[in-house]
Symmetry: D2
Subunit: 465 residues, 4 copies
Amino acid sequence: MKTLIKNGRIVTAADEYVADLLIDGEKIVLIGAHLDESGADQVIDAAGLYVLPGGVDVHTHLAMPWRGVETCDDFFTGHRAAAFGGTTTHVDFSIQAKGGTLHEAVETWHAKANGKAVIDYSFHVAITDLTDSVMAEIAELPKIGVTSIKMFMAYKDSLQVDDMTLFKSMQVAAKSGVLSLVHAENGDAIEVLIAEAITAGNHAPIYHALTRPPELETEATSRAIWLAQVAGDAPLFVVHCTCEGALAAVSAARLRGQHVYAETCTQYLFFTKDALNGTADDPFDGAKYICSPPLRETSDSAALWRALRTGDITSLSTDHCPFTYAEQKALGRDSFAKVPNGAPGIEDRLYMLWNDGVLSGRLTPSRFVELVATNPAKMFGMYPRKGTLAIGSDADIVLWDGAAEHVVSAATHHSAIDYNLFEGRTVQGKPVKVFVRGQLVVDGDNLMAEKGSGAFIHRASPLLL
Amino acid sequence: MKTLIKNGRIVTAADEYVADLLIDGEKIVLIGAHLDESGADQVIDAAGLYVLPGGVDVHTHLAMPWRGVETCDDFFTGHRAAAFGGTTTHVDFSIQAKGGTLHEAVETWHAKANGKAVIDYSFHVAITDLTDSVMAEIAELPKIGVTSIKMFMAYKDSLQVDDMTLFKSMQVAAKSGVLSLVHAENGDAIEVLIAEAITAGNHAPIYHALTRPPELETEATSRAIWLAQVAGDAPLFVVHCTCEGALAAVSAARLRGQHVYAETCTQYLFFTKDALNGTADDPFDGAKYICSPPLRETSDSAALWRALRTGDITSLSTDHCPFTYAEQKALGRDSFAKVPNGAPGIEDRLYMLWNDGVLSGRLTPSRFVELVATNPAKMFGMYPRKGTLAIGSDADIVLWDGAAEHVVSAATHHSAIDYNLFEGRTVQGKPVKVFVRGQLVVDGDNLMAEKGSGAFIHRASPLLL
Amino acid sequence: MKTLIKNGRIVTAADEYVADLLIDGEKIVLIGAHLDESGADQVIDAAGLYVLPGGVDVHTHLAMPWRGVETCDDFFTGHRAAAFGGTTTHVDFSIQAKGGTLHEAVETWHAKANGKAVIDYSFHVAITDLTDSVMAEIAELPKIGVTSIKMFMAYKDSLQVDDMTLFKSMQVAAKSGVLSLVHAENGDAIEVLIAEAITAGNHAPIYHALTRPPELETEATSRAIWLAQVAGDAPLFVVHCTCEGALAAVSAARLRGQHVYAETCTQYLFFTKDALNGTADDPFDGAKYICSPPLRETSDSAALWRALRTGDITSLSTDHCPFTYAEQKALGRDSFAKVPNGAPGIEDRLYMLWNDGVLSGRLTPSRFVELVATNPAKMFGMYPRKGTLAIGSDADIVLWDGAAEHVVSAATHHSAIDYNLFEGRTVQGKPVKVFVRGQLVVDGDNLMAEKGSGAFIHRASPLLL
Amino acid sequence: MKTLIKNGRIVTAADEYVADLLIDGEKIVLIGAHLDESGADQVIDAAGLYVLPGGVDVHTHLAMPWRGVETCDDFFTGHRAAAFGGTTTHVDFSIQAKGGTLHEAVETWHAKANGKAVIDYSFHVAITDLTDSVMAEIAELPKIGVTSIKMFMAYKDSLQVDDMTLFKSMQVAAKSGVLSLVHAENGDAIEVLIAEAITAGNHAPIYHALTRPPELETEATSRAIWLAQVAGDAPLFVVHCTCEGALAAVSAARLRGQHVYAETCTQYLFFTKDALNGTADDPFDGAKYICSPPLRETSDSAALWRALRTGDITSLSTDHCPFTYAEQKALGRDSFAKVPNGAPGIEDRLYMLWNDGVLSGRLTPSRFVELVATNPAKMFGMYPRKGTLAIGSDADIVLWDGAAEHVVSAATHHSAIDYNLFEGRTVQGKPVKVFVRGQLVVDGDNLMAEKGSGAFIHRASPLLL
């Protein structure tokens, strides 16, 4: 099957030009001027459209259990939403059970994806219980295509690891071609602040933000950076960086030459902690915005936007971690501390960044592509198969109408979640067609993919930028 | 005329993959797997070679007058050397004569290039005498394809401008789509230090470095940055950044979100000011290394290398400004202050950065391409025509043997200069064939281009990264 | 004549304790518990009062000519105001006339003070025209008791010096035991901004602030610091530091070990540039607040307060430079650019800092004394004669009622100026009696000193902190 | 009993002047010119000598148990050494036993001091086991004169506390007028590095330094600072700050206005980690220099010296923690990990700082006094009783011969330790006589004090600088 995409404006992390592109089977095989249509099975005229590599979202939580509930998107509904947003590959977090092995964690997540996937996917593994045998497992992870581990510095008494675990994990990861990821917040201090808030009767959603102040993210980010340095300049990827202080620590490390990288997530660019105050009608509406780290201040968002341009933020993810408002967030109606932590966003990433980043002039289209596709693919060992438009790469392609205006709404989005953080915003930029490995998965408003058509991506070691 | 390059490893600022590439006339028209050879006039097998965009060197001084002498490379010998080094486009500095106009300066430089060029070229214009009519000229420069101006903060009583000139120039440049470049050293203090050295009888080449300490570059860099900020965030490009302090000022500005960029030049990555002490046999050998700003310390070089990777340095240039050792540098045998300022390097840039940057693991091949070709083309308004391998771009192409070992020497290089800073170093990486707009200009050891075949590039406004 | 002050709370930069203090003639001769009253000519009970060293204000402009007018306080009215505010010594700026000598400048200022002084005084000299003979004069200044020079980096075409003058002056000062002071604003850029504002018809007082943005103070402060470093770590005292950026440059230099010091002035702690907008009734009221550098933002004031405590600001001055509102400021009714630059404050310094610094808990009483008396005396070569309460020191003493509430007003202050920046503020802290060299000069609301009783202080080289 | 000290050069943190000083009983009662000798019981001519307040050393470990041994100085030999060095007050660390109370710890240390003390003393308490009842105890500590607590961030599985303990302790301390002290090194990572060194067979003393790299101190210092900020700007005193990175974190916090203070200790100013390599004759000699944090690099020492002058280091202590070389250090002959951690220095502090600080011109005598006496007395709630020469203060006085040359040696020092870090150095500066509360305790080479004459100092809350 050969598909010829004609006259589109091709964008890569480096380039932007009008040309034709030919897909043969699952791969991109030809890019050129005025390609011959004769051999193509189908010809698509992309005049006036951008031709983008499919988005790569390296921070999602589909079907993730959390204190008795589970995120409301499984690998089908989550993938469907991703695809409609222009994301064709994601990396989800498999989480070691206490007492369990890393391999079991990965197997458990494979089972979640099996038969449901409509985009491509891979897994990180989060370490929660480091024994000698788990240490040995880390070094073996690349064999099963898992080349990134995550350590939580927050969530005391559940996911949180101590510094010894963090440090030893980084050491072995550095030697094994595995990237170390951290959720950087000081869980010990947060635990104290939460207990104090509860004791004081402060239960409203805003206390989620007030009990997780940015200083505690700055601290933990700084700590992870220094530990990574001592662990042999272990490559470190700081997930969901949200505040100026943490960003300053990342920048300083990069200036020193350390292999430190950071992502931020869409919501931190658009909202402040004021959102947690809810609405006049519904104070609990703030619970929709409960995610960790919490939303910050306008000055923090501004700093993140600057770093997206100048390079100290390497990529943009979503931390898609959807809990329904009506049923799941509602579990915390009597206290913020019981509200499931997480916010949705897997579908909104590309158009939000396009609208406020590219159309505003903050980012070039190439930098946009670098942030949402190329850099995450490189950092997570999926390049050149994923993340770009190059000969031999997977034909994960988004035909993007950069001017199409649409209104974001839970009524029309494709996740199972019952709300959308960006509800009611009119934005420009939208996929017209989305291909995964040459197959059309989204065509306008229609999902074309079969359940189970998405494939697991066996990842290589990170390509360190 | 169609040329098919087969099986090469194509590298852009974003990508790296094996494919075939077809040139039709002056342009790249097709990139793909297993392209049909039938329509090609010639087929070149590039298996085992890299296919790189031709280098873009935005900092050169060919046929430049300097206190009664002239740099020893004209637009033919300089271009020849550039081409053999893999550079296919350069931007030279035309310099306003006191009392003259900017347009006259550009015309003068056009005359230097006419009939001699074998690679493509363009011009900046250096402002030395800012009158109201010159202010008006700045706004008109884009019409003649000149979209960058340079102000010297050093060379008191000759090239140096005062802060009022600097500031006003930046203001009008910012409004006119023109990029402001600065040579950032405090010329006032340097003038005092030079006079003191001379009075004290300190004439050896090393005093060139000692009278231009890094603090004075840090100061001037910081000054230019703040003035650019007040001038409406005027885009600022700091040429030949050499030291940690100046780099820190650039980094801080970028973190604040200012549109500040810096280049460094090859020599600052490889030598320290110790080189100015000369050799045991010939203390005056140090004069070969007299350039401004001077060579610095090992810690400065290390900082520059780090910033090449992490992004605070945007591109690598040469500041090729060749004066022969035997005759021209010799004018300063009795005092460093009379030594013509400048060092050669137009031919050495790519292989030196490849050898010590890419092969050492400091830089990916893509980052290499970004530094020597893509970013300078973008920053100086020549993209997408120059600086990349994309459909529709000029077929400025280097077939690069990344492993070819060779010894750098004045005996074999192609500049008119009688010495080479890297004399005797064995390095890997070398062009096998070089094309300019589809024409083969270098084939192994042979120059294939006709004099005058190089073209002036009418530049657009900078694409601000 | 012996005066015994009993039961007061003595405060020095180090200490705070209750004791008796005996003055014999002009000197402090005894401090102790329960001193014998028998030998004293007079005994003053200071129970409940603080006994402070007299304030030292090293930044004033009395009887200073400025574009055809003169500051409205001469050495009598200015001294009277100072004395009522608890300041017993000041250092005024004598200013070199273009073409004149430094010694002539000092002589001119001596003539202004002669016969009028009621507190002690000394002079800096501002260099405006640096010739070789003036260079020679700098080295001779200590012989006439002048150990500080000032260079203006602003006021293009009048007071401003170029960097060569600045640098050479610093060099010779460093070798001569003379402290270099700078007014750090980039006058070149300011001149352009002022001209633009005028051209645009922007004449209101607020444009004074808008044409002197903080970036231009940060720039100049940084420049002076780097030049001082290259000039042999020439001791540098940055006058009227007003903004976070400049302060950061000072802090960074101090951390590097450079001998850099900064003062701020009272007004920068209390007002923002909003004051230049005037009042609803009188928009031109903003002219009262026109001083250079201009008032800044709340965040800048906050940074200055922090640095007063932690040490990166060495002392507090007033930059008392009074022009009457009714007649002198009014010269600029049609344009901010014609408003005489300067604000009054010589009387207000101690109680404003006491009220908002000590009583608020920001500063200890000892740090208060250090900032207003001890450090300026040390930095300007008047210690131990001035600036402290120690055996052998001049008996410059303020009996201070730390709780006395009073309302600041031009109606009751003692300067010739017709307005007070702090008009209407109720503050605590006030001198009850003030002694200069053992003589009572202020007693409650009465001036007790004779005109001409104040003495010139022949200053030694700075005691570098 | 009245003692008159005549003609000495009195130095306080603010002042320096020649005067007479009268002691009556335990207190200073009079300072003045030419005091009457008639009422004095004894008159001492201090002409040519400095009269200094007795040194205050807030970081010592006398009779401290450590893995089965005990530091070799008890409260008699340690005090004797202190007194001969000019230190008249110290604060020792009482350490909570696991399962024990803080009050028991203080009681245990009282018992160690009882009947032995010859100088004055007080106690901090180190928290090792934080329960709710211990939390309650912290708030009660001021009642027993203990106003500082210490938390160890190193020594995993023995003294180390987790971040929750650290944070909660800071919170309660902040509310109780208690100062929080931290030993800032990341004990988790250190533990891993030590285990790795041992596994690798790296047992020499130098591995003590190599397993405790400065990054781990920088990290922990930064962590403590951020936690203190979130704990309500809890006043934080970082003990034994040794490296540039940690110092930078302290400086940044101070610039932000946080109440953060740091001390360094004498050895860090004079030695680098090279000392741990031992001598050619005796490689194990390096064990003498094993203390934690370890000795660093020359650049670190230089930074500490700079900060002593400019203020980011608040005071100088010794961390006197003496283990004999012959017997105690020897326990670790087969491995650095078994060498008791600690170095002596209680006697050497004043003359080492005088010789290399004051005589070299780095510090004024006043700053010297501030660092070794006044600031520690203020920060630890003993001012104005201790730390200065003021009316009403304890007559803790050192008559100091600033020029007396002597050779430092274990053969002549007064501690029980069998080596001296400064062995063989010729230095200037030495006490001639030392008084504690008016009693002569050292007279030349003779100890005049009776055992048990030293008194416990019931401390008030810190006077925050």
